[in-house]
Each structure stands twice: as structure tokens, then as C-alpha cells.
């Protein structure tokens, strides 16, 4: 093979032909340019994605900086409230001590976001592939105008994958569906239901727009499938709760619809409690709701539907009225109880943080176990919120909640709290007084009642003197009362010493202390002025009728 190479600035491609075989050899100069201001990178697409760069009319690409907040220090507010002196240094020292090494956020290593053909086109995410330049170098050989090749080293390699624009299930939803994969026959309804859920919650036009568009496509199918098989119910009723969790995130950030997020938050809490097994399912939620199969889906989800979105087209169940009612009812209570605590206008704003609280702390479900009504949960939750996250004692929380209620639900069994008082006497008192609202903390009521008990016999005995006929005051709970009448009866029957008399009026039965008994007895005897007789060297009293 001959080849003549001409060095220098002129063309350096030379054609030579060999003799016999029909082959041709060309030689080109290879250059590796030195001015490396441009960095060459590889953009790799998967074969299956069928990407053709020639079809691109317009493209935009930029780094995806969404990981910055993870790596970068999260700056809590500096100075003033909430900050500590030297907090940063201490945090840093602590990290060093434990050897926690946080990776630096390198812009170079961040993924690319590539948007092709504008808003309606495709989106790609390009992740950097590691280890490309470790052992071997890749070079890009381009042919220049003068026929020479120029070789550029490849700086990094990015694998680009297309990003889905359609809605996908979140992780929780996906797990749910996976559990039901054998039962669900109709897969289209999964996404349809999810969309419906989202519709009720948020009022985002875009959301609706998307859904509206998609719903038209699948609405037919959704309508067809209103056969209300059990499976549909199953999937829907639990779908919502989970879906709501996922959608919650969006809804929370987008629309602070108080009712909606609160409802969802409540539901999530319940669902969480179902999963954790902390509390029984709140049957109280579903009581009294007439639902047909269709409405089952919405009943579970629309436990507290927004008043603003009462119409959901064909899928709206009949039960929605009941649901609205129940919602109003329970919301009323919530309002009432919150009245007692904070300003009412803050309620809406509070409800969202309440939901936030619930989302963040599932222990709220644990807090409210053994309660039967949903409003109890609400109380506990708002109690939680009121107390600024210090976990309230269960009794204390409910007690205070109960105390501030103004009687919207007289039959509420939150009196159970008070019923845990320790003395039988106090319990009996409560029974007597019936289900009256208590305005003092329940822990004090037993004591208060006990106190009331003590002076009552005395006062009654005092009353007995001017009205001997009615000497017997209404006995509250004791069997024997130390009254003048009683003493008189004994003394008429037979003469007794003071000791005997005292024995008759035992402290256990009269509810008086021994001292009091003695005093009262002495007063009575003074009044009666019985005759005295000495029997067996002991002073006996007796009366003659």
C-alpha cells in the first residue's frame, strides 16, 4: 500500500489505488485539536424509544437542579425567633464527630432535562453514566471540510429516558393495586377513579382540563362499567383513601380547600389507622348513610365532601346529600369545640395545618383510639394542634374537648372520661345528675361532688330541727342519717349510752367523720334533753313518749 502524505496546511487526503483487488484506500490525517473549550458529551437514547433527532424542530435542555435542596444546607431562618446561637457551628461539629459525610452538590453531575418540540413535545431526562472515562477514552471522529478527521474526547455520557406525561400511580397506590391484581378485571377504571378523586378535591382548571379530556375518552368505559361489581366497590373504596394520600400532596400545595384537605386528611388518618390496626374502623362514619353500590365509592371518599363541588356528573351517588349532611354536622361540632379554644376565623386556616399535622404524625390515630365518632378524632386532632404538638394525655385532651363543647351533641359518650373517677360516690353522683355537661375539668368534678356530699348531711340535719316532720332529708347515697328523729327513736325504745348511740350511727353508713358524728350527736342530745339513768355505772339516756 502506498500512500503519499502531504503535511502542512493543504489537503491531506490522497487517493491511491491498488492493483488487482477492487479496493481503495484513502488516508486521512487525524487531528486532535488543542483548543478544548467545547466539551463533547454523548446523548444516548434507548432503542425502543424510537428517537430521531432529525424530527426535532426545537429543543431546550437544562440541568435538573431539584437535588440541590437535599445536598445543600437547608437554611432555617436566620436570626430572631427559632434560632440558636452558634447552631451552625454546632451542627457542623456534630456531623464531623459522627463522621457524617454529605456529598457535595456538583452541578456537573446533575441530570439534564431535555424538552423537545416545545410544550406538546416529549420530555427526556438524562442521567450521567459513571465510569466512562476511567479506563478507556472515547473519541468522536468528525470529518472536516478538508477531509481530515478531528478527534474530540468525550467528556461524559448521559443516558436519556423519556418521561411519561400521562398520570401514573404513586407508590402507595401502586402497591394497593398490586395487592388486588388478581381481582381487578377492568384496569381502565383504576385511573378513572383516581382522576375522579382528584376532581372532587381540587378545583384546578388544568387538572380538570386534563381529566376532562381524558375522561371523555374513558368516560364511556367508566359509564359502561357501572355494573357495581364487588370488586369495583372494593377497589374504589380503598382506592380513594390511598389515592387521596397521593393526591393530597398536590391538593395541599395547590388549593388550600379547607374542607377537602381536611376530609382527606381525616380519611388518611383513618386509613392509616386501619392499616396499623390501632383503632377499629370508625363505623360511626358510615352509619346512617344510605348508599347504593355506586355511591359506595364516593361515600368512603366523600366522608366530608366539599360543599363547593357537589356535582360530579354521572358518578355522583345519591348518598351525597347524606354525606353533605354528615359533613355539616361533624363540621359544626368541630367548629363548636374549636370555638372554645381559638378564634373561629382561623378555623379554615387551621384545618389545613390540622391535616398537615395528621399527615405528618400518624400517631394521631393512635391518640384517638377507642373513640367511636369521627368528631372525637377531630377533637383529638385539634386538641393536638392546639397544644402545639405536645402529645396531650388522652384523658386530658378529651376532657378539655368535652368541656368546651356547648351541647351540640348531648349524647356524646365522652363522659366516659369522667366515668373513670375513682370513688363510687362520685360515680353515683354522676349517674344521678345525668348527662349534664361539665364545665370544670373532669378530674375536679369527683372531688367537687365529694365535697358537696359532706356538708349536705349536716345541713340537712340542721334543717331537720325546725321541721321535725321532715327531719329525714333526702338521702343521697347513705343508709342511715344522723338525725334527731333517729336518735329519738332509739332512746324511746330503750336507754342507751352515748357509746351505743355512736355505734348506731357508724361513720361508714352516715358518711360523716367520727368527730362530726360526735358533734352532731351532742347537739341532738342537747335538744332532746333525754332523761338520764345510771345502769351498771354507765350513764344511759332514755326518753319516754
Amino acid at each position: 500500500m502506498f500512500s503519499q502524505v502531504i503535511n502542512g496546511t493543504s489537503c491531506s487526503a490522497v487517493m491511491t489505488s491498488l492493483g488487482s483487488s477492487s479496493s481503495s484506500t484513502t488516508e486521512y490525517v487525524v487531528r486532535v485539536p488543542k483548543n478544548t473549550s467545547k466539551k463533547y458529551n454523548i446523548m444516548a437514547f434507548n432503542a425502543g424509544d424510537k428517537v430521531s433527532c432529525s424530527t426535532w424542530t426545537q429543543a431546550r435542555m437544562e440541568r435538573d437542579m431539584s437535588n440541590r435542596r437535599i445536598y445543600g444546607e437547608e437554611e432555617t431562618q436566620e436570626g430572631a425567633a427559632g434560632s440558636e446561637f452558634g447552631k451552625k457551628q454546632r451542627e457542623e461539629a456534630r456531623r464531623k464527630k459522627y463522621g457524617i459525610v454529605t456529598k457535595e452538590f456538583k452541578v456537573e453531575d446533575q441530570p439534564w432535562i431535555l424538552k423537545v418540540n416545545g410544550k406538546a413535545g416529549r420530555r427526556f431526562k438524562g442521567l450521567k453514566k459513571g465510569g466512562v472515562t476511567e479506563n478507556a477514552s472515547y473519541y468522536i471522529f468528525t470529518q472536516c471540510a478538508d477531509g481530515a478527521f478531528e478527534a474530540f474526547p468525550v467528556h461524559s455520557w448521559y443516558n436519556f429516558t423519556p418521561q411519561a406525561k400521562h398520570r401514573t400511580l404513586t407508590a402507595e397506590e401502586a402497591e394497593e393495586e398490586w395487592g388486588r391484581r388478581n381481582k381487578v378485571v377492568n384496569h381502565f377504571s383504576i385511573m378513572l377513579q383516581r382522576r375522579l378523586r382528584g376532581q372532587e378535591r381540587g378545583e384546578e382548571d388544568e387538572e380538570e382540563g386534563e381529566k376532562g379530556g381524558k375522561k371523555k375518552k374513558k368516560g364511556g368505559r367508566g359509564g359502561d362499567l357501572r355494573i357495581h361489581d364487588l370488586e369495583d366497590d372494593l377497589e374504589m373504596s380503598s382506592d380513594e383513601s390511598d389515592g387521596s394520600n397521593g393526591d393530597d400532596d398536590e391538593a395541599k400545595s395547590k388549593a388550600k380547600k379547607d374542607k377537602g384537605p381536611k376530609g382527606k386528611g381525616k380519611k388518611k388518618k383513618k386509613k392509616g389507622s386501619d392499616l396499623e390496626g390501632f383503632e377499629d374502623s370508625d363505623d360511626g362514619d358510615f352509619e346512617g348513610l344510605e348508599v347504593d353500590y355506586m355511591s359506595d365509592e364516593s361515600s368512603s371518599e366523600e366522608e366530608e365532601p366539599e360543599k363547593t363541588k357537589p356535582n360530579k356528573g354521572e358518578d355522583v351517588p345519591k348518598g351525597i346529600d347524606e354525606m353533605s349532611d354528615s359533613e355539616e354536622e361533624s363540621e359544626e361540632e368541630n367548629k363548636n369545640e374549636e370555638d372554645g379554644k381559638e378564634e373561629e376565623e382561623e378555623e379554615d386556616g387551621k384545618k389545613t395545618p390540622v391535616q398537615v399535622e395528621k399527615k405528618k404524625k400518624k400517631d394521631s390515630s393512635g391518640e384517638s383510639d377507642s373513640s367511636e365518632d369521627s368528631d372525637i378524632e377531630g377533637e383529638a386532632a385539634s386538641a393536638l394542634f392546639m397544644k402545639k404538638r405536645t402529645p396531650p394525655k388522652r384523658g386530658g385532651g378529651r376532657g378539655s374537648a368535652g368541656s368546651s363543647r356547648t351541647g351540640s351533641r348531648p349524647g356524646t359518650p365522652s363522659i366516659d372520661n369522667a366515668a373513670t373517677s375513682n370513688t363510687l360516690r362520685a360515680a353515683a353522683n354522676k349517674l344521678e345528675q345525668g348527662k349534664r355537661q361539665t364545665t370544670v375539668p373532669s378530674s375536679e368534678t369527683p372531688a367537687a361532688k365529694r365535697l358537696k356530699m359532706e356538708p349536705s348531711p349536716q345541713s340537712s340535719s340542721g334543717n331537720g330541727t325546725p321541721q321535725p316532720a321532715s327531719g329525714k332529708s333526702t338521702p343521697s347515697s347513705s343508709d342511715v342519717l344522723l338525725t334527731e328523729d333517729a336518735v329519738r327513736r332509739y332512746l324511746i325504745r330503750k336507754p342507751m349510752t352515748t357509746k351505743d348511740l355512736l355505734k348506731k350511727f357508724q361513720t361508714k353508713r352516715t358518711g360523716l367523720s367520727s368527730e362530726q358524728t360526735v358533734n352532731v350527736l351532742a347537739q341532738i342530745l342537747k335538744r332532746l334533753n333525754p332523761e338520764r339513768k345510771n345502769i351498771n355505772d354507765k350513764m344511759h339516756f332514755y326518753l319516754t313518749e
Binding site: R31, S83, E84, E108
Partner: protein, 265 residues
Amino acid sequence: MSDKGEVDLTGAKQNTGVWLVKVPKYLAQQWAKATGRGEVGKLRICKNQGKAEVSFTLNEELTTIDTTGQKSSMVRAPREHPFTLQTVGGQTLAVFTENSSGQSDAEAGGSGTGTGPDKIALEGVVVQRAECRPAVSENYMRLKKLQIEELSKPLRFSQQLDKAVTTNYKPVANHTYNLDYEKRKKEEGKRARADKQQVLDMLFSAFEKHQYYNIKDLVDITKQPVIYLKEILRDIGIYNVKGTHKNTWELKPEYRHYQNEEKSD
């Protein structure tokens, strides 16, 4: 000038075809040493009845390998490198460039490190993949042997010293740091109790900057003896035992005026 993020699609439109070639490390190193315009060698393409044979010949002057060690002149890089051609497969491999110099003209604009706007351009699409292999020769074997020897050396090794090391820690009556420390302490002297009002002023201004303080930090700031400071703090502040800011002092609510509350001393 296009704005940041806009991709220049000229390469894609022209469907510029490029080759992606995998090159051995030593060869890449040799290419980096190229002088002048960067000419490193010749590429020979031979078309034999449909089959193409590509080979690269390294320039003479680039065959010397710099090695640390004794065998510098003996080893030379091989000159002949046939290319093994491969298809791209179904994959679409595009080449895009990122400029990193900070200028803003069409050729070299923007910066990959963020000092200026990036200019991203699509240079072309890969049409051929190839691997550059050295033609096996004595030279190559020697080169490889050298490489292996270098790599097999452990990163850490034990070495016997002739003399014991005596320069690290000498016994000293008292370290210089300690001496300085004691001198500083003596100068400062014991902390004197300043006027209560002054201390209060200092505390309030400190609490304006941060809400929670450690007692040690407060002592540092106010330069008061601890007991005296604690007395004053007990009047105006509270001590957090639990919670996120534990063991810290903060002002009592009525003394605070962060954000909304208006009461202060």
C-alpha cells in the same frame, strides 16, 4: 445569542454523522502530547469488496512514552492500530457539546461551570462505533508489562527506616499553647459583675439576634460570672429542658418581641 437552554440543532438537521471510537488510555495520553495543530497520526480506510478496514497509524514523534522509572527509552507505543468496527445497534447516540469558556460568540460561548450562559449544540449523530486496538507487537507487550508492573504496586507499602523518628513530639515543660492560654486568662482576670442594667441590655440585644442561647455562650457574650448571670436570667428568661432546643435559655414570652408581639421590657 440564544438564551440559556436552547439547543442548537444544526448538527441534527444536517444529520452529521460521526464516529464514536474507543481509544486505549495510553494512546489518549500520547495524543494529549501532540504539538502544533494537533496532528497525531493517519487514518487509513481500506474498502475491500464491501468490507472496510480502518487503521490508524500513530505519528513517529508521539511514540515515546514518558515513564517514571528506568525503562523510559526502551518502551515505545505501537504505531499501528487497526480499528474494530461495530454497529450502533438500535440505540440512537447523539453528540452534544457544551461550551465552557464564558464568551458569548457562536463558537465558544457559555460555561459548563456556570460562570456564563451555556451554549448547548447538537453536533451530530453517531453512525459508527469503533474500537481502536493496538497491533500486537513486541513494543506493545513491553508497554503492557510496564503498565502492569506499575499498577501492581500497592498504594501503601512499608518501609524500614534507618533512624527512629524523633521530630514529632518532644517532651516539653509546658506547651506553648498552654502558656498562651494561661497568659490570656491572667489578663482577663476574673469576671466582674457589671451593673445589672447593663447586663440586661446586653442580654436583650443578644436575644434580639437569636432566640435560644446556651449558658456558656451567654457567659461569653456578657463576660459575667455564671452565678450572677443565672440570677439575672432567672428573672427575664426561661430554661428549656426538653424539646428541640434543650438546655438553652430564652426570654420569657412577655419580654420577647419577635414578629408580632409587642411587649418588651
